[in-house]
């Protein structure tokens, strides 16, 4: 499995310094831990358009790293996480019950979320999720 470049660099430097077998074992354990760590974290790009950014202090682009957990992240969990960590004010204007408020469109990797299962879509690493509020103006 190929690692991210920075991890790869770290791996080879560690490798070159290794001399003794118990250090090899030590390294293998370390490598396993690093591997588990980067698989579990999900990095996402969140975009907010059409006025939704007003609820997030005006910030339109958020680069988030979701903490690792046993069950995979889906949109339902993401919304809960956003409500707890990113939403600055008026959660009822963004989230309604389980889902987003009607009138807010969700695009995952530039495709309609209805095509991908809406709330049940499982997020992959480096996905981009875009929330467009259509409730404003013409």
């Amino acid at each position: 499995m190929c690692l991210a470049p920075d991890l790869e660099r770290r791996r080879t430097t560690v490798h070159s310094r290794m001399l003794f077998s118990w250090q090899q074992v030590h390294f293998r354990v370390l490598e396993a831990l690093i591997l588990v760590g980067c698989v579990a974290k999900t990095r996402l790009l969140l975009f907010l358009r059409g006025g939704a950014e007003l609820l997030f202090d005006g910030v339109k682009k958020h680069q988030v790293t979701l903490p690792g957990q046993e069950e995979p992240w889906d949109i339902r969990n993401l919304l809960v996480w956003i409500k707890k960590n990113l939403l600055k004010e008026r959660p009822e204007l963004f989230i309604q019950g389980d889902s987003v408020r009607p009138g807010i469109l969700v695009l995952i990797n530039d495709a309609d979320w209805e095509l991908l299962g809406e709330l049940d879509y499982q997020l992959q690493d480096q996905d981009s999720v875009l929330f467009i509020s259509t409730l404003h103006g013409g």
Partner: protein, 520 residues
């Protein structure tokens, strides 16, 4: 019946919602071309790929314009742009439509108007300047002649804005076809000095250099006094509903004025299908049911010479948002008067929340309401068909739907009530012929009813010239003083005219043989 997850009264027995139709997964293909990967779901379950979606969207725009043959070739059309997604999309469609080659090209001459409403929304001058700078950037990219006006300019409007200017009828279908044919003939045989006519798309070069400077107008920044007056006006309105209605009215008047000044005969607004469905329901709640056909139809001829046209009325907000995202249409978000307002803050917000929530559960809601609005017919009132046009509302300029005979008693009750509240004070600008002058000393004729003289109660004289919906809005305005002067002037003019007409009514020769009475 429709229950959207909230129980009112006795909770309904727990019925699990019907299982949602199987979602079209990414493995499915576009329903139109059956080969592309679908990116958007339109209506209920139709998945389109990117190219088919674009073709579908553009086709709808052209079809709406082509079906209602109202825009003649070479006509000047003003595009009302708010910076929001629907109007930006409309401008982009016009831009693309004009630059196509051959017979499918759009054939009118566009201009863009942007109304800066920052003062009404309570924005700071720095924010307004920043927004204006972003707007100008986009306007320069688009390349049409543009006009930026601030809402404060309503304080400088002439009373003629409120008058219906009659226009000669545009003619039958034959006239449209003839106009198109003659325009095409002109194009194919250009005069030696007019080669550029064959490519009107290139007549709109980028940047101000190629366009006459008169075509791009930007008023001077509004004075602090005007901004203050506008803020005072909006602060004096008690409810958000009335504020939104007032804002809409003033904006319409301002755009109308710009259109008349610069010679535009049509105004295009970017109202989308969803917005019009919401507007239809809101108008019903506000008491404007009589004017639904004008408020939500494709064309709105209430002003007479300038016709308001709604080419985006077939596109839902979802389609507009997707198109703007997929094809990079620039738009600017500006906070409006109802930004971040809670759901029950105004009738508009409530209706919007209701419709969108219903739409989420029953996906054909918006289209059903929209189709209903298409069936509404603009019929004249029974008594007026064939006769002279009746009086029009002062603010919304629709034919008055209140029977004056009926409201005489109501009016009398109103004036006596109001006169008890405020001692009558003569207005600052005294009319030249006060209606109670000694020269026309009729005991019963000069003022309707036994109430005090009408000129001493300006509020009642304005209110009686409004339609029912506008009257209900005016209830939330405790004093009419902060209103822009053109409204009050026109109201006074009309009431004077009505009272003078009433005085000389007996002297007028009627066509149905009423005997002319002698002098008093």
């Amino acid at each position: 019946m429709c229950q959207v997850g909230e129980e009112y009264g006795a909770p309904a027995p727990e019925v699990p919602p019907p299982p949602p139709p199987p979602r079209a997964g990414r493995e499915l293909k576009c329903v139109k071309c059956s080969e592309g990967l679908p990116v958007v779901v339109i209506r209920a379950g139709d998945a389109f790929c990117r190219d088919c979606f674009k073709a579908f969207y553009v086709h709808k725009f052209r079809a709406v314009l082509g079906k209602n043959r109202l825009i003649f070739p070479g006509e000047k059309v003003l595009l009302a742009w708010s910076g929001g997604p629907s109007s930006s999309s409309m401008i982009w469609q016009v831009l693309e439509g004009l630059s196509r080659d051959s017979a499918k090209r759009l054939r009118f001459v566009p201009g863009v108007v942007y109304v800066d409403e920052g003062a009404a929304c309570g924005q700071s001058p720095e924010d307004r300047a920043k927004t204006l700078a972003e707007m100008k950037l986009i306007l320069q990219t688009v390349g049409f002649p543009w006009h930026i006006v601030a809402l404060e300019e309503v304080f400088g409007l002439p009373p003629s804005v409120l008058r219906h200017l009659a226009q000669e009828p545009s003619g039958t279908k034959g006239a449209y076809k003839a106009a198109v044919d003659s325009f095409l003939q002109q194009q194919h045989a250009p005069a030696p000095g007019e080669e550029q006519l064959s490519q009107p798309g290139s007549q709109d070069p980028q940047g101000p250099a190629g366009l006459p400077t008169a075509a791009q107008t930007e008023a001077q920044a509004p004075t602090a006094a005007q901004t203050e007056a506008l803020s005072r006006l909006f602060d004096s309105v008690k409810t958000l509903t009335a504020k939104e209605e007032l804002l809409q009215t003033l904006r319409t008047h301002l755009i109308l004025h710009v259109a008349r000044t610069h010679g535009y005969s049509k105004v295009m607004t970017g109202d989308s299908c969803t917005r019009l469905a919401i507007k239809l329901m809101t108008s019903l709640a506000l008491g404007r049911g009589a004017f639904l056909a004008w408020d939500t139809g494709f064309s709105d001829e209430r002003h007479g010479d300038v016709v308001v046209v709604r080419p985006m009325r077939d596109h839902t907000l979802k389609e507009v948002a997707f198109y703007n995202r997929l094809f990079a249409v620039p738009s600017v978000f500006t906070p409006a008067i109802d930004t971040k307002a809670p759901e029950k803050a105004s009738i508009h917000r409530l209706m919007e929340a209701f419709m969108l929530r219903l739409q989420a559960q029953f996906p054909s809601t918006v289209s059903t309401v929209y189709r209903t609005s298409e069936k509404l017919v603009k019929a004249p009132r029974d008594g007026n068909s064939g006769g002279p046009p009746g009086p029009r509302c002062l603010l919304c300029m629709c034919a008055l739907d209140i029977d004056t005979a009926d409201s005489a008693t109501a009016f009398g009750a109103q004036t006596s009530h109001l006169s008890q509240m405020q001692p009558p004070t003569p207005p600052a600008e005294a009319p030249t012929t006060p209606c109670c002058s000694a020269g026309v000393g009729r005991a019963q004729g000069c003022c309707r009813g036994a109430g005090p003289c009408r000129r001493e109660d300006p509020r009642a004289s304005v209110i009686e010239q409004l339609c029912y919906g506008c009257r209900v809005n005016m209830k939330d305005l405790p004093s009419l003083d902060p209103l822009p002067p053109y409204i009050l002037t026109e109201a006074q003019l009309r009431s004077q005219r009505a009272s003078v007409l009433q005085e000389i009514q007996e002297y007028l020769i009627d066509s149905d043989d009423e005997v002319q009475t002698g002098e008093s």
